[in-house]
């Protein structure tokens, strides 16, 4: 990169030497978790001999609850989906076992059938709830409401099943597996270890970062073309499967199923365990679930109501005083003592050039194929017409600036282009494909990139992780590995290098300056390899030198890479320097569309900006 001074290159090289690769870190942690898992398995192995029969009996149940708590942690702690309904999936698995063994009987075939059936029903219900809750425009809180309702409905269905489901007393005393208590202890314990280990690999993998990015900023993910609704739906269905398996084992072991296992009280108890153990730590919720359930069983005999009271009070105190939960609060001093020697070197992936997927840039300035075509677009809010009869088209290699005073409808137009449900009427086509009524993620897949007006980034991720999320639709992130390379197309690479982000790959985004965030968002959008780029005031709040850099990058994108850029900007000087064409919007209509000189020298533009409305009617009319 010619723009990059030699000094900076050296700084970047030194920085790379000092940082560790994600795969190294991942392998190290796998080793650590592997050791932990082996230790846990050994303890579970000797458990039945070391513990009394009552403890073993209780712990089998506690282990199963622990496994559900882990899946809830992945849903809530990592992805931000607060589900009160994991108990409903648990009860589906439990009744699949109970109903089959009571009404059909126990054979290897029916046992397997019940298992498959229970898991399938739970996954289906999970997917259905997910489909309802993660659809376009459904508020984020809806999943909590829907899962709450699911529990209430589930319990009532089981209550009203009469003799068939045993109504309020449930089913008990059916033939069940001929497995010893120690055997169940090993099964449940190993299952918990397995769930924690698999969950751990998932959340530390590249796909796990994607889950966190959904929690942090789902809108940004959608505009990268990531179908977050579908990902969340699959995740909910997956967690439903684990919960149903736990329910099946629970019924198989205890020989009792009751409707209250599916109630929202139990669902909420699971949420409490996760919050107490520490959201987003996996191990914390697993330990909290096992410990609290185990101690509850012991103390509920001697201190029946007082124990519940203590749990309630501790829970409130933890939520208020330790928002991250007890686990992290207890673990962090230990960890600090462990790592006091030297501060850990930052972990970051390396930047690599991506193979360009798109055809080579069109050489001619403004001579490419039609990239975006808008015909008779309008947007009304009731009787208020924000956009009226907007028609224009732009080719690859054109940098079209949209200017106009506040309230002219510029941002609304950007929104109508990038979200199929926004416009009232008219047509928008990206590279010849109409966007129809598609949600933003599907519009983005047609080759549209949108940079928002205020920096729209993932505050909790690092710069490198953010760039990987932006690439996630093109390069599917792995569920069990960390990639050491982030492959960026040339344009994104150029932004990252010229704005100094390349030296800050391991920096958390929340620590970047405003300009750094703006540049990062632009780099992320370019990493998605868009053909049409929508930029809403990309230089707002930037310093003069930063503006100049961004301006150069934009001109380069258009001239060398043949992108079509649609730029909303207030700074006419900036617009004049870099645009190939200017469209003037005023009161929701296009009043002027022409080359830079014509527009800038036009009397009309001056009138609009200085504000003499009566003159506009005459000239436009």
């Amino acid at each position: 990169m010619p723009q990059m001074p030699r000094r900076e290159i050296r700084a970047a090289e030194e920085f790379r030497g000092a940082s560790r690769l994600p795969s190294e870190e991942f392998r190290r942690e796998i080793g650590r978790v592997g050791m932990l898992a082996v230790a846990a398995l050994v303890l579970i192995g000797i458990g039945p001999w070391a513990l009394g029969q009552y403890s073993v009996d209780i712990l089998i149940r506690s282990f199963l609850y622990g496994a559900i708590a882990v899946t809830l942690d992945i849903l809530w702690g990592y992805t931000g989906i607060l589900s009160f309904g994991q108990s409903a999936f648990f009860v589906i698995g439990a009744y699949a076992c109970g109903l089959t063994f009571v009404h059909i009987g126990l054979t290897p075939f029916t046992a397997l059938g019940a298992l498959v059936g229970g898991v399938a029903v739970a996954a289906l219900v999970g997917a259905l709830v997910g489909w309802l809750a993660f659809g376009y425009g459904v508020p984020a809180l809806y999943i909590s409401i829907a899962t709450l309702v699911l529990c209430v409905v589930m319990v009532q269905v089981l209550y009203s099943g009469g003799v068939y489901t045993g109504s309020s007393s449930g089913l008990s005393g059916f033939d069940t597996f001929d497995v010893s208590m120690a055997g169940w202890f090993w099964i449940a314990g190993a299952a918990l270890v397995l769930v924690v280990a698999l969950g751990w690999i998932l959340v530390r993998s590249d796909a796990g970062r994607l889950l966190v990015s959904i929690r942090e900023n789902e809108q940004r993910c959608k505009y990268f073309g990531l179908a977050t609704g579908r990902i969340k739906m699959q995740l909910l269905a997956g967690s439903a499967i684990v919960a149903a398996l736990a329910g099946y084992a629970y019924a198989g072991y205890t020989d009792v199923v009751a409707p209250d296992l599916g109630g929202f009280q139990f669902g909420t108890e699971l949420v409490i365990w996760v919050a107490l153990g520490g959201r987003g730590t996996l191990l914390g919720p697993a330990c909290a679930a096992v410990l609290i359930d185990f101690v509850s069983a012991y103390l509920s005999g001697s201190l029946p109501f007082v124990w519940q009271l203590i749990v309630g009070v501790v829970f409130i105190a933890v939520i208020v005083v330790m928002p991250r939960g007890l686990g992290p609060a207890l673990a962090s001093p230990v960890r600090r003592a462990w790592r006091r020697k030297a501060p850990a070197r930052p972990v970051t992936a390396r930047l690599r050039p991506a193979e360009e997927r798109n055809a080579a840039a069109e050489p001619a300035f403004g001579g490419g194929p039609t990239a975006i075509e808008i015909t008779h677009l309008s947007r009304r809010y009731g009787s208020l017409h924000v956009l009226e009869d907007i028609s224009f088209s732009a080719r690859g290699g054109e940098l079209v600036s949209l200017v106009g005073p506040n309230g002219a409808g510029k941002t609304t137009l950007i929104r109508c282009i990038s979200d199929g449900r926004e416009r009232t009427s008219g047509r928008v086509a990206i590279e010849g494909h109409g966007i129809g009524r598609s949600a933003p993620e599907y519009c983005a897949r047609l080759g549209l990139g949108r940079k928002f007006q205020t920096p729209n980034v993932f505050e909790a991720l690092t710069v490198a992780e953010s760039l990987r999320i932006a690439r996630a639709r093109i390069e599917r992130p792995s569920f069990w590995r960390c990639d050491d390379a982030i492959r960026l197309p040339e344009a994104a690479m150029q932004v990252v290098r010229t704005t100094g982000l390349a030296e800050q790959l391991a920096t958390r985004v929340r620590h970047l300056s405003h300009g750094g965030k703006q540049a990062l968002e632009l780099a992320m959008v370019l990493a998605t390899e868009p053909r049409v780029l929508l930029l809403d005031e990309p230089t707002a709040g930037l310093t003069k030198p930063e503006r100049t850099v961004i301006g150069k990058v934009l001109v380069d994108l258009v001239q060398r890479h043949g992108l079509c850029v649609l730029l909303v900007e207030h700074d006419l000087e900036f617009v004049r320097e870099i645009s190939s064409r200017i469209i003037v919007l005023h009161q929701g209509r296009i009043v002027l569309d022409g080359n830079v000189e014509d527009v800038v020298s036009s009397e009309l533009v001056r009138t609009i900006y200085v504000g003499e409305p009566q003159a506009i009617g005459e000239e436009a009319g």
């Binding site: 409401i145 709450l148 007082v306 309630g312 829970f315 409130i316």
Partner: protein, 278 residues
């Protein structure tokens, strides 16, 4: 037919009285108070205490209002205030509080179902049919509560300030409004109203430590579909409560018990604004 219509309007009145406290807390604090059911239970037990000491049954309501408001004020200070910026955590903490209240009541009063003396008994003749007098009185009280709150919001200085905080808290603070005080007052009033509703319910229902749970669920769903408007809440209570009565009468009581939560969930999915600005 007349008695069905009366069932519908009185049910709507009961639901409105139960939900309105949750609605004003949600409107001002933007948090969902999952201890609402616990406050309601406190009201129920207040009237049990009144019965126990052979006091005038009508004393239960004011006493419940006061005890709920005092307890709510304490809860706001200790638990809810630190969680203003964390609305999801506020849901969880108030649910934890509900657990604590249920356990305390169980320790104090036992788990069993208990009954409360009714201030009025019997039926009265309305529109050509005999109907429970108490339910009609309940409806009148619910309407009075609604009018009182609307009048307070529209006609008093606190109401004006509360509306400002509901619409734009940051701006209200910028204008020198002490929004902490507004939050404190509304939470206390909301808790008092829940408790009042609990006391009002006791002549119709028995009292037990978890009596608040089903009411919490219904109130929560009704508030979700109503946004922050009293009128929408009244409409939602009438429509969904009416559906509940119809389903219970012509279908089964089990389905009736599910009607509000299921219908509200459907309404919210189809139209996230629910009954607001309908």
């Amino acid at each position: 037919m007349t008695s069905l219509l009366l069932d519908i309007v009185t049910t709507a009145g009961i639901l409105f009285a139960v939900s309105v406290g949750l609605l004003i807390v949600f409107g001002v604090q933007k948090i969902i108070n999952f201890a609402h059911g616990a406050f309601l239970t406190i009201g129920g037990y207040t009237s049990l205490v009144v019965t126990h000491f052979h006091l005038d049954p009508w004393l239960a309501e004011p006493l419940a209002l006061i005890s709920g408001a005092v307890f709510g004020a304490a809860v706001e200070r200790i638990i809810v205030r630190p969680l203003y910026r964390r609305p999801l955590d506020a849901i969880l903490a108030t649910w934890g509080l509900a657990i604590v209240v249920v356990q305390l009541i169980t320790i104090g009063f036992g788990r069993g179902v208990q009954f409360v003396q009714s201030p009025v008994a019997g039926a009265t003749r309305v529109l050509g049919t005999d109907y429970s007098l108490y339910r009609l009185i309940f409806l009148a009280i619910a309407i009075a509560i609604g009018i009182a709150i609307a009048a307070a919001l529209q006609g008093t200085r606190l109401g004006l300030v509360a509306r400002a905080v509901i619409m734009n808290e940051d701006l209200a603070r910028g204008l020198g409004i002490n929004s902490d005080l507004v939050r404190f007052a509304t939470f206390s009033v909301g808790a008092g109203l829940a408790s009042l509703a609990g006391a009002l319910l006791t002549p119709l229902l028995s009292v037990d430590p978890i009596m608040g749970v089903p009411w919490l669920l219904n109130a929560f769903m009704l508030v979700m579909v109503s946004g922050t408007s009293l009128v929408s809440l009244a409409l939602a209570c009438l429509v969904l409560g009416g559906a509940q009565v119809v389903v219970s009468s012509y279908g089964s009581p089990v389905l009736g018990g599910l009607t509000i939560v299921v219908l509200a969930a459907i309404v919210l999915r189809v139209r996230p604004a629910g009954f607001a600005r309908a």
